[in-house]
Amino acid sequence: MPVEIDRRPLWLLLLVKGTRLLLLLSLALLFWFIVAIDPPQGLSPAGKNAIAIFIVCLSLWITNLIPLAVTSILAIIMVPLFGVLTEKETYSLFGNEAVFFILGAFILAGAVMRSGLGSRVATMIMKRFGGSSTGLARSIFLLAAVLSFFISEHAVAAMLFPMVLEIAKALKLRPGKSNYGKLLFISLAWGCIIGGVATFLGGARVPLAVGILRETSDKSIDFLDYSLAVLPVVVIMLTVGYFVLARLFPVDIEGIEEAQEVLLKKLQGMGKVSYNEYAVGIIMGLTFLAWFFLGRALGLALIALASVVTLFVFKLVRWRDIEEYVNWGIILMYGGAIILGSALDKSGAARWMADMTIQNWAETPLMVVALFSLATLILTEGMSNAAVIAVLMPVGIGMSGSFGMDPVIVTLAIAIPAGLAFALPMSTPANAIAVSSNYVNVKDMARAGIIMSITSWIVFNLVARFYWPIIGLKF
């Protein structure tokens, strides 16, 4: 009889059960130790304290021992408490344009979801282009990518997942066994991931990176310039992603009539396009154009907030809807991340860390880009991509100063790869949801994701080396 008795040593059992408490305690001790010692040469006491806070936040962001936004609150408390910045300076950083742009963009995304416009567009496109098994998988992949150009990739994943689940159910795909099931769910996740890096709107990480760039230097990146810089990466990764998926998960079903029926029923159930859908679509379109062409003159946050007000003027959303569709923790998370970045920069800690670490390994600006993009790609697999930005941006800006590089280059070398987490469910909600369906297991995702991660690093560096100089980003 296969009865198993737990014969592991007591210390190991205690360790397994009490890991969380032990980690928190170790972190507190480490923090206390760093604060207590004398600062090394070239680092001010405030800089040393900033590094101690940085280590605590980094560890908490990686381990998720407390929610991300709460870690940011901790940074907000510790920065003035340990004399890195004054209270006034700390709280004033919440007034950063990036925080308000992110807030506006999330409210707009909430309005798109609330109106039903997103679901209608998605269903119509899948119905129109998903006539065959490969066509349906391709349309889910590209649809997820294109929608993530306009609204947060997480919102897109949340919106499309129930539809893909219904399709898989209608096609009677076997969870964990069907290749086509794996293909559909990984297409959804990868579409969101690749599309999410294409503009400022795919996630809050790019605005956050730009916010930190603005706070720590006199430079910035506008909506159009960013999209232009990242365009080849998106196009190449979508192409590579499509071929990798087709190769690793060859279609193992024949007809998809049942899926077409599901989509047709869904469309019929939606009825005619409503006034709300038309109006939200028009406002979203105009906002997008304004970000592209007037972003530099008016400011991205101003445009986003003006669009939010317009939604309310035309009674397209109620405040209650917004409360349901936006998680207000976002303000604390991104505000706190900007405070931490600014604390590291202003105390001189960022420059000191850059001198002590990457500066020893990198000899040329090209190597700086290669190393930062590699570090970002590795870190983003294990922690939230916004946290990766908060952690690497201050060091990156410090590093660009040492090499006389334009800090915009390093910002892009961190902000773009930070979104490209393909391999693990813990790295991004889109991956987590694909695995939660049980159609995809962690092994399938990791096997395919590693190929994509390596490819994305190579593609990113080739684009940076050969394409960026053409559009004026020289290094």
């Binding site: 009889m1 397994v16 998720n64």
Partner: protein, 155 residues
């Protein structure tokens, strides 16, 4: 009546475990009680990911977890149906139960209620090293259950 309890977790199945439980129930002339546990942990984790990392609001996150739970529930019904057919073919009385919640808590609740002769369940396939460092709910069940607990690796 003597019962054999077959405990089926949400995302793991084993034909071997099902066949073994039916065979055992037939041998002792008892009934087969099948407990399908709708593990809310996975759906909760997705909810947390979308709200804590994705920062999307409660409503879409809840809709998402509802979609996942609906899918798990449907799979549970299908699984229970398939086991029922096998049990009927073997002439074994069949009693299905579905519960939401933590694996060990749900399993213990039913074990204490029906006091089965034996509990049969399915465990995740893991490498030896991962198994050594992870806490297994099967171990917890074996420690707390008053009956014998037999497990099979998932298919």
């Amino acid at each position: 009546m003597k019962d054999i309890l077959l405990i089926l977790p949400t995302s793991k199945t084993s034909n071997e475990a099902v066949d073994f439980a039916i065979r055992k129930a037939k041998e002792i002339g008892g009934a087969l009680t099948v407990l399908y546990i709708l593990d809310t942990a996975m759906a909760d984790e997705v909810f947390d990911k979308f709200t804590d990392i994705g920062f999307i609001g409660d409503k879409p996150s809840s809709q998402l977890t509802e979609a996942i739970m609906k899918e798990y529930r449907q799979r549970g019904y299908e699984l229970l149906g398939a086991v029922q057919i096998k049990a009927m073919e073997a002439g074994v009385p069949f009693n299905p139960i579905t519960l939401h919640g933590d694996f060990t808590e749900c399993a213990m609740k039913v074990i204490n209620d029906i006091k089965p002769v034996m509990a049969v369940t399915v465990r995740e396939r893991l490498s030896g090293l991962s198994r050594y460092f992870s806490t297994s709910s099967i171990n917890e069940l074996q420690d707390s259950a008053p009956c014998e607990v037999v497990f099979f690796d998932e298919d």
